[in-house]
Symmetry: C2
Subunit: 211 residues, 2 copies
Protein backbone atom coordinates (compact mmCIF):
# COMPACT_ATOMS: atom_id res chain seq x y z
CA UNK A 1 0.00 0.00 0.00
CA UNK A 2 1.49 3.29 -1.05
CA UNK A 3 0.51 6.59 0.52
CA UNK A 4 -0.12 7.96 -2.94
CA UNK A 5 -3.07 5.63 -3.57
CA UNK A 6 -4.94 7.08 -0.62
CA UNK A 7 -5.35 10.62 -1.82
CA UNK A 8 -7.79 10.97 -4.76
CA UNK A 9 -6.38 11.98 -8.08
CA UNK A 10 -6.90 15.58 -9.14
CA UNK A 11 -9.68 16.09 -11.66
CA UNK A 12 -8.80 16.61 -15.28
CA UNK A 13 -10.28 19.30 -17.47
CA UNK A 14 -12.49 16.78 -19.27
CA UNK A 15 -13.76 15.39 -16.01
CA UNK A 16 -14.84 18.79 -14.79
CA UNK A 17 -16.48 19.70 -18.05
CA UNK A 18 -18.33 16.45 -18.62
CA UNK A 19 -19.54 16.21 -15.04
CA UNK A 20 -21.03 19.65 -15.47
CA UNK A 21 -22.72 18.65 -18.72
CA UNK A 22 -24.15 15.54 -17.07
CA UNK A 23 -25.48 17.40 -14.05
CA UNK A 24 -27.06 19.96 -16.33
CA UNK A 25 -28.79 17.25 -18.36
CA UNK A 26 -29.78 15.37 -15.22
CA UNK A 27 -31.40 18.50 -13.82
CA UNK A 28 -33.52 18.72 -16.94
CA UNK A 29 -34.69 15.15 -16.63
CA UNK A 30 -35.01 14.74 -12.87
CA UNK A 31 -36.93 18.00 -12.49
CA UNK A 32 -39.56 16.72 -14.89
CA UNK A 33 -39.95 13.09 -13.95
CA UNK A 34 -38.52 12.77 -10.45
CA UNK A 35 -35.89 10.30 -9.40
CA UNK A 36 -37.79 7.10 -10.08
CA UNK A 37 -39.39 8.36 -13.26
CA UNK A 38 -36.07 9.25 -14.84
CA UNK A 39 -33.71 6.83 -16.56
CA UNK A 40 -29.97 6.90 -16.98
CA UNK A 41 -30.40 6.44 -20.72
CA UNK A 42 -32.59 9.53 -20.81
CA UNK A 43 -29.99 11.60 -18.99
CA UNK A 44 -27.17 10.22 -21.11
CA UNK A 45 -28.99 11.14 -24.30
CA UNK A 46 -29.73 14.63 -22.99
CA UNK A 47 -26.03 14.96 -22.14
CA UNK A 48 -25.02 13.75 -25.60
CA UNK A 49 -23.12 10.65 -24.56
CA UNK A 50 -23.57 6.92 -24.16
CA UNK A 51 -24.82 5.38 -20.94
CA UNK A 52 -21.56 3.57 -20.08
CA UNK A 53 -19.70 6.78 -20.72
CA UNK A 54 -21.96 8.64 -18.31
CA UNK A 55 -21.49 5.89 -15.73
CA UNK A 56 -17.76 6.41 -16.03
CA UNK A 57 -18.23 9.83 -14.42
CA UNK A 58 -21.00 8.95 -11.97
CA UNK A 59 -21.11 5.47 -10.53
CA UNK A 60 -24.86 5.29 -10.17
CA UNK A 61 -28.16 7.08 -10.68
CA UNK A 62 -28.15 8.20 -7.08
CA UNK A 63 -24.65 9.61 -7.46
CA UNK A 64 -26.01 11.98 -10.10
CA UNK A 65 -29.09 12.89 -8.12
CA UNK A 66 -27.51 13.49 -4.71
CA UNK A 67 -25.15 16.36 -5.63
CA UNK A 68 -27.99 18.14 -7.42
CA UNK A 69 -30.11 18.05 -4.29
CA UNK A 70 -27.25 19.08 -2.04
CA UNK A 71 -26.42 22.02 -4.25
CA UNK A 72 -30.00 23.21 -4.39
CA UNK A 73 -31.09 23.39 -0.78
CA UNK A 74 -28.14 25.64 -0.12
CA UNK A 75 -28.89 28.01 -2.98
CA UNK A 76 -32.55 27.85 -2.16
CA UNK A 77 -32.24 29.07 1.40
CA UNK A 78 -29.69 31.77 0.76
CA UNK A 79 -32.28 34.56 0.49
CA UNK A 80 -33.78 33.53 3.82
CA UNK A 81 -30.33 33.51 5.45
CA UNK A 82 -29.85 37.09 4.37
CA UNK A 83 -32.92 38.28 6.23
CA UNK A 84 -31.35 40.52 8.86
CA UNK A 85 -32.84 41.60 12.20
CA UNK A 86 -31.17 44.99 11.75
CA UNK A 87 -33.09 45.90 8.64
CA UNK A 88 -36.57 47.36 8.43
CA UNK A 89 -39.11 44.61 9.06
CA UNK A 90 -41.40 45.18 6.10
CA UNK A 91 -38.53 45.92 3.73
CA UNK A 92 -36.72 42.75 4.73
CA UNK A 93 -39.75 40.59 4.13
CA UNK A 94 -40.67 42.25 0.88
CA UNK A 95 -37.16 41.95 -0.48
CA UNK A 96 -37.12 38.31 0.60
CA UNK A 97 -40.25 37.75 -1.45
CA UNK A 98 -38.76 39.55 -4.40
CA UNK A 99 -35.55 37.54 -4.31
CA UNK A 100 -37.41 34.28 -3.91
CA UNK A 101 -39.57 35.13 -6.88
CA UNK A 102 -36.50 35.90 -8.96
CA UNK A 103 -35.18 32.47 -8.14
CA UNK A 104 -38.36 30.86 -9.38
CA UNK A 105 -37.96 32.82 -12.58
CA UNK A 106 -34.27 32.09 -13.05
CA UNK A 107 -34.05 28.54 -11.68
CA UNK A 108 -37.38 26.85 -12.34
CA UNK A 109 -35.81 23.42 -12.82
CA UNK A 110 -34.19 23.57 -9.43
CA UNK A 111 -37.52 24.46 -7.91
CA UNK A 112 -39.22 21.56 -9.64
CA UNK A 113 -36.52 19.12 -8.62
CA UNK A 114 -37.06 20.18 -5.04
CA UNK A 115 -40.83 19.86 -5.38
CA UNK A 116 -40.49 16.38 -6.84
CA UNK A 117 -38.39 15.38 -3.88
CA UNK A 118 -40.94 16.72 -1.41
CA UNK A 119 -43.81 14.96 -3.15
CA UNK A 120 -42.27 11.55 -2.67
CA UNK A 121 -41.53 12.23 0.98
CA UNK A 122 -37.97 13.57 0.69
CA UNK A 123 -36.24 10.26 1.50
CA UNK A 124 -32.70 11.51 1.01
CA UNK A 125 -33.49 14.81 2.63
CA UNK A 126 -35.28 13.93 5.79
CA UNK A 127 -32.54 14.62 8.30
CA UNK A 128 -31.51 17.94 6.82
CA UNK A 129 -35.09 19.18 6.98
CA UNK A 130 -35.31 18.38 10.67
CA UNK A 131 -31.92 19.86 11.55
CA UNK A 132 -30.45 22.51 9.25
CA UNK A 133 -33.71 23.77 7.78
CA UNK A 134 -35.64 23.74 11.04
CA UNK A 135 -32.81 25.55 12.84
CA UNK A 136 -32.69 28.24 10.19
CA UNK A 137 -36.44 28.77 10.15
CA UNK A 138 -36.63 28.78 13.94
CA UNK A 139 -33.98 31.47 13.98
CA UNK A 140 -35.75 33.63 11.42
CA UNK A 141 -39.13 33.08 13.06
CA UNK A 142 -37.62 34.51 16.21
CA UNK A 143 -36.50 37.61 14.35
CA UNK A 144 -39.95 38.05 12.86
CA UNK A 145 -41.58 37.61 16.27
CA UNK A 146 -39.23 40.28 17.56
CA UNK A 147 -40.39 42.68 14.88
CA UNK A 148 -43.99 42.04 15.85
CA UNK A 149 -43.25 42.68 19.51
CA UNK A 150 -41.76 46.02 18.50
CA UNK A 151 -44.92 46.87 16.62
CA UNK A 152 -43.15 46.93 13.26
CA UNK A 153 -45.22 44.08 11.84
CA UNK A 154 -48.79 42.89 12.24
CA UNK A 155 -48.98 39.96 14.60
CA UNK A 156 -49.24 36.59 12.88
CA UNK A 157 -47.72 33.13 12.94
CA UNK A 158 -44.16 33.60 11.60
CA UNK A 159 -43.88 29.97 10.47
CA UNK A 160 -46.98 30.13 8.33
CA UNK A 161 -45.85 33.48 7.05
CA UNK A 162 -42.68 31.86 5.77
CA UNK A 163 -44.63 28.93 4.34
CA UNK A 164 -46.90 31.29 2.46
CA UNK A 165 -43.91 33.05 0.95
CA UNK A 166 -42.37 29.78 -0.13
CA UNK A 167 -45.67 28.63 -1.59
CA UNK A 168 -46.59 31.75 -3.52
CA UNK A 169 -43.16 32.23 -5.05
CA UNK A 170 -42.35 28.62 -5.92
CA UNK A 171 -45.78 28.23 -7.45
CA UNK A 172 -44.64 30.21 -10.49
CA UNK A 173 -41.90 27.66 -11.17
CA UNK A 174 -43.63 24.43 -10.17
CA UNK A 175 -47.03 25.18 -11.73
CA UNK A 176 -45.73 27.25 -14.61
CA UNK A 177 -47.74 25.28 -17.15
CA UNK A 178 -50.95 26.01 -15.32
CA UNK A 179 -50.08 29.68 -14.79
CA UNK A 180 -49.32 30.18 -18.47
CA UNK A 181 -52.42 28.30 -19.56
CA UNK A 182 -54.67 30.46 -17.39
CA UNK A 183 -53.00 33.75 -18.25
CA UNK A 184 -53.12 32.99 -21.97
CA UNK A 185 -50.61 34.01 -24.58
CA UNK A 186 -50.90 37.78 -24.26
CA UNK A 187 -50.79 38.19 -20.47
CA UNK A 188 -48.56 35.21 -19.76
CA UNK A 189 -45.69 36.28 -21.95
CA UNK A 190 -42.73 37.54 -20.00
CA UNK A 191 -44.37 39.93 -17.60
CA UNK A 192 -46.07 37.33 -15.45
CA UNK A 193 -43.23 37.53 -12.97
CA UNK A 194 -43.42 41.31 -12.81
CA UNK A 195 -47.18 41.13 -12.28
CA UNK A 196 -46.71 38.50 -9.61
CA UNK A 197 -44.10 40.62 -7.87
CA UNK A 198 -46.45 43.57 -7.88
CA UNK A 199 -49.35 41.58 -6.53
CA UNK A 200 -47.39 39.83 -3.80
CA UNK A 201 -45.71 43.04 -2.76
CA UNK A 202 -49.08 44.66 -2.27
CA UNK A 203 -50.67 41.69 -0.56
CA UNK A 204 -47.92 41.34 2.01
CA UNK A 205 -47.51 45.08 2.47
CA UNK A 206 -51.15 45.56 3.43
CA UNK A 207 -51.41 42.18 5.08
CA UNK A 208 -48.45 42.73 7.37
CA UNK A 209 -48.55 46.46 8.12
CA UNK A 210 -49.40 46.85 11.80
CA UNK A 211 -52.69 48.60 12.52
Amino acid sequence: MSAKAQRPRPKTRIQREKQEVILEAALDVFSQFGFRGSTIDQIAEAAGMSKPNLLYYFKSKEDIHAPLLARILDTWLEPLREMSPEGDALSEIRSYIRRKLEMSRDFPRESRLFANEMLRGAPGFYEILHTDLKTLVDEKALIITGWMAEGRLARCDPYHLIFSIWATTQHYADFDIQVQAVLGSERGGDNRFEDAALFLDQLYLHGLTPK
Copy 2:
Protein backbone atom coordinates in the same frame (compact mmCIF):
# COMPACT_ATOMS: atom_id res chain seq x y z
CA MET B 1 -72.25 -8.30 -36.18
CA SER B 2 -75.08 -8.29 -33.70
CA ALA B 3 -76.47 -5.10 -32.19
CA LYS B 4 -76.01 -6.60 -28.76
CA ALA B 5 -72.24 -6.66 -29.08
CA GLN B 6 -72.19 -2.91 -29.54
CA ARG B 7 -73.56 -1.85 -26.17
CA PRO B 8 -71.15 -2.49 -23.27
CA ARG B 9 -72.16 -5.04 -20.69
CA PRO B 10 -73.41 -3.71 -17.37
CA LYS B 11 -70.84 -3.76 -14.60
CA THR B 12 -71.02 -6.47 -12.01
CA ARG B 13 -70.71 -5.88 -8.28
CA ILE B 14 -67.17 -7.24 -8.24
CA GLN B 15 -66.16 -5.02 -11.12
CA ARG B 16 -67.34 -1.92 -9.36
CA GLU B 17 -65.71 -2.86 -6.07
CA LYS B 18 -62.36 -3.92 -7.46
CA GLN B 19 -62.08 -0.96 -9.76
CA GLU B 20 -62.56 1.24 -6.75
CA VAL B 21 -59.89 -0.64 -4.79
CA ILE B 22 -57.48 -0.32 -7.70
CA LEU B 23 -58.06 3.39 -8.15
CA GLU B 24 -57.57 3.91 -4.43
CA ALA B 25 -54.27 2.04 -4.49
CA ALA B 26 -53.20 3.79 -7.68
CA LEU B 27 -53.84 7.16 -6.08
CA ASP B 28 -51.47 6.21 -3.27
CA VAL B 29 -48.74 5.23 -5.66
CA PHE B 30 -49.14 7.80 -8.43
CA SER B 31 -49.34 10.68 -5.96
CA GLN B 32 -45.94 9.75 -4.57
CA PHE B 33 -43.96 8.79 -7.62
CA GLY B 34 -45.78 10.31 -10.56
CA PHE B 35 -46.88 8.42 -13.63
CA ARG B 36 -43.52 7.31 -14.92
CA GLY B 37 -42.11 6.58 -11.49
CA SER B 38 -44.94 4.23 -10.60
CA THR B 39 -45.21 0.61 -11.69
CA ILE B 40 -48.22 -1.59 -12.27
CA ASP B 41 -46.75 -4.18 -9.90
CA GLN B 42 -46.55 -1.56 -7.18
CA ILE B 43 -50.19 -0.61 -7.65
CA ALA B 44 -51.28 -4.23 -7.85
CA GLU B 45 -49.55 -5.04 -4.59
CA ALA B 46 -51.07 -2.00 -2.90
CA ALA B 47 -54.45 -3.16 -4.17
CA GLY B 48 -53.85 -6.68 -2.91
CA MET B 49 -53.99 -8.47 -6.21
CA SER B 50 -51.77 -9.83 -8.95
CA LYS B 51 -50.67 -7.73 -11.87
CA PRO B 52 -52.57 -9.72 -14.53
CA ASN B 53 -55.63 -9.54 -12.34
CA LEU B 54 -55.34 -5.79 -12.17
CA LEU B 55 -54.88 -5.60 -15.91
CA TYR B 56 -58.15 -7.47 -16.27
CA TYR B 57 -59.92 -4.40 -14.91
CA PHE B 58 -57.76 -1.70 -16.50
CA LYS B 59 -56.20 -2.42 -19.85
CA SER B 60 -53.09 -0.32 -19.29
CA LYS B 61 -51.22 1.93 -16.89
CA GLU B 62 -52.66 4.99 -18.58
CA ASP B 63 -56.18 3.63 -18.21
CA ILE B 64 -55.70 3.69 -14.43
CA HIS B 65 -54.12 7.11 -14.41
CA ALA B 66 -56.52 8.95 -16.68
CA PRO B 67 -59.74 8.54 -14.66
CA LEU B 68 -57.94 9.64 -11.52
CA LEU B 69 -56.89 12.87 -13.18
CA ALA B 70 -60.30 13.47 -14.71
CA ARG B 71 -62.01 12.97 -11.36
CA ILE B 72 -59.64 15.31 -9.57
CA LEU B 73 -59.72 18.48 -11.60
CA ASP B 74 -63.46 18.52 -11.20
CA THR B 75 -63.39 18.09 -7.44
CA TRP B 76 -60.54 20.49 -7.22
CA LEU B 77 -62.28 23.39 -8.85
CA GLU B 78 -65.62 22.97 -7.16
CA PRO B 79 -64.89 25.51 -4.41
CA LEU B 80 -63.93 28.09 -7.02
CA ARG B 81 -67.13 27.43 -8.97
CA GLU B 82 -69.14 28.19 -5.88
CA MET B 83 -67.70 31.68 -5.56
CA SER B 84 -70.77 33.79 -6.18
CA PRO B 85 -70.93 37.43 -7.31
CA GLU B 86 -73.94 37.92 -5.06
CA GLY B 87 -72.07 37.23 -1.84
CA ASP B 88 -69.95 39.63 0.13
CA ALA B 89 -66.58 40.01 -1.59
CA LEU B 90 -64.30 39.43 1.36
CA SER B 91 -66.46 36.65 2.79
CA GLU B 92 -66.54 34.84 -0.53
CA ILE B 93 -62.79 34.93 -0.89
CA ARG B 94 -62.12 33.98 2.69
CA SER B 95 -64.49 31.04 2.55
CA TYR B 96 -62.91 29.96 -0.72
CA ILE B 97 -59.56 29.90 1.03
CA ARG B 98 -61.00 27.96 3.93
CA ARG B 99 -62.63 25.37 1.69
CA LYS B 100 -59.50 25.00 -0.39
CA LEU B 101 -57.45 24.48 2.73
CA GLU B 102 -59.86 21.81 3.94
CA MET B 103 -59.37 19.99 0.67
CA SER B 104 -55.61 20.00 1.18
CA ARG B 105 -56.18 18.53 4.61
CA ASP B 106 -58.72 15.91 3.54
CA PHE B 107 -57.39 15.02 0.09
CA PRO B 108 -53.61 15.42 0.16
CA ARG B 109 -53.03 12.58 -2.27
CA GLU B 110 -55.24 14.16 -4.86
CA SER B 111 -53.31 17.39 -4.47
CA ARG B 112 -49.99 15.63 -4.90
CA LEU B 113 -51.19 13.72 -7.93
CA PHE B 114 -52.16 17.01 -9.49
CA ALA B 115 -48.81 18.57 -8.57
CA ASN B 116 -46.92 15.64 -10.06
CA GLU B 117 -48.84 16.10 -13.29
CA MET B 118 -48.04 19.82 -13.41
CA LEU B 119 -44.35 19.22 -12.76
CA ARG B 120 -43.96 17.05 -15.82
CA GLY B 121 -45.79 19.54 -18.00
CA ALA B 122 -49.34 18.15 -17.74
CA PRO B 123 -49.21 16.16 -21.00
CA GLY B 124 -52.66 14.62 -20.65
CA PHE B 125 -54.11 17.79 -19.29
CA TYR B 126 -52.94 20.47 -21.60
CA GLU B 127 -56.17 21.13 -23.50
CA ILE B 128 -58.38 21.21 -20.42
CA LEU B 129 -56.14 23.81 -18.82
CA HIS B 130 -56.43 26.09 -21.82
CA THR B 131 -60.19 25.66 -22.22
CA ASP B 132 -62.21 24.63 -19.17
CA LEU B 133 -59.85 25.94 -16.51
CA LYS B 134 -59.05 29.18 -18.29
CA THR B 135 -62.72 29.86 -18.92
CA LEU B 136 -63.61 29.31 -15.27
CA VAL B 137 -60.79 31.49 -13.97
CA ASP B 138 -61.56 34.23 -16.48
CA GLU B 139 -65.14 34.22 -15.30
CA LYS B 140 -64.19 34.42 -11.64
CA ALA B 141 -61.55 37.05 -12.29
CA LEU B 142 -64.29 39.16 -13.81
CA ILE B 143 -66.36 38.83 -10.66
CA ILE B 144 -63.40 39.81 -8.52
CA THR B 145 -62.68 42.80 -10.74
CA GLY B 146 -66.30 43.81 -10.34
CA TRP B 147 -65.95 43.75 -6.57
CA MET B 148 -62.89 45.96 -6.81
CA ALA B 149 -64.72 48.44 -9.00
CA GLU B 150 -67.46 48.62 -6.36
CA GLY B 151 -64.85 49.38 -3.72
CA ARG B 152 -65.49 46.19 -1.83
CA LEU B 153 -61.98 44.85 -2.38
CA ALA B 154 -58.51 46.38 -2.61
CA ARG B 155 -57.39 46.66 -6.20
CA CYS B 156 -55.04 43.94 -7.32
CA ASP B 157 -54.51 41.44 -10.11
CA PRO B 158 -57.35 38.93 -9.75
CA TYR B 159 -55.42 36.18 -11.55
CA HIS B 160 -52.44 36.39 -9.27
CA LEU B 161 -54.80 36.58 -6.33
CA ILE B 162 -56.25 33.23 -7.35
CA PHE B 163 -52.77 31.80 -7.96
CA SER B 164 -51.68 32.85 -4.49
CA ILE B 165 -54.69 31.13 -2.96
CA TRP B 166 -53.98 27.95 -4.88
CA ALA B 167 -50.33 28.07 -3.89
CA THR B 168 -50.74 28.76 -0.19
CA THR B 169 -53.44 26.17 0.35
CA GLN B 170 -52.02 23.35 -1.75
CA HIS B 171 -48.63 23.87 -0.16
CA TYR B 172 -49.86 22.16 2.99
CA ALA B 173 -50.60 18.99 1.05
CA ASP B 174 -47.76 18.98 -1.46
CA PHE B 175 -44.97 20.04 0.91
CA ASP B 176 -46.42 18.38 4.00
CA ILE B 177 -43.13 16.69 4.86
CA GLN B 178 -41.33 20.01 4.89
CA VAL B 179 -44.07 21.74 6.86
CA GLN B 180 -44.09 19.05 9.53
CA ALA B 181 -40.30 18.96 9.71
CA VAL B 182 -40.10 22.71 10.28
CA LEU B 183 -42.97 22.88 12.74
CA GLY B 184 -41.61 19.99 14.76
CA SER B 185 -43.55 17.37 16.65
CA GLU B 186 -45.35 19.61 19.12
CA ARG B 187 -46.58 22.38 16.80
CA GLY B 188 -47.02 20.23 13.73
CA GLY B 189 -49.39 17.72 15.26
CA ASP B 190 -52.94 18.21 14.09
CA ASN B 191 -53.44 21.91 14.50
CA ARG B 192 -51.20 22.99 11.67
CA PHE B 193 -54.23 23.33 9.42
CA GLU B 194 -56.07 25.43 11.98
CA ASP B 195 -53.03 27.65 12.41
CA ALA B 196 -52.69 27.95 8.66
CA ALA B 197 -56.36 28.85 8.32
CA LEU B 198 -55.96 31.55 10.94
CA PHE B 199 -52.87 32.99 9.34
CA LEU B 200 -54.23 33.00 5.81
CA ASP B 201 -57.53 34.46 6.93
CA GLN B 202 -55.72 37.35 8.54
CA LEU B 203 -53.28 37.88 5.69
CA TYR B 204 -55.98 38.07 3.05
CA LEU B 205 -58.36 40.03 5.23
CA HIS B 206 -55.86 42.81 5.78
CA GLY B 207 -54.29 42.42 2.38
CA LEU B 208 -57.56 42.74 0.50
CA THR B 209 -59.60 45.17 2.62
CA PRO B 210 -60.00 48.35 0.59
CA LYS B 211 -58.41 51.43 2.12
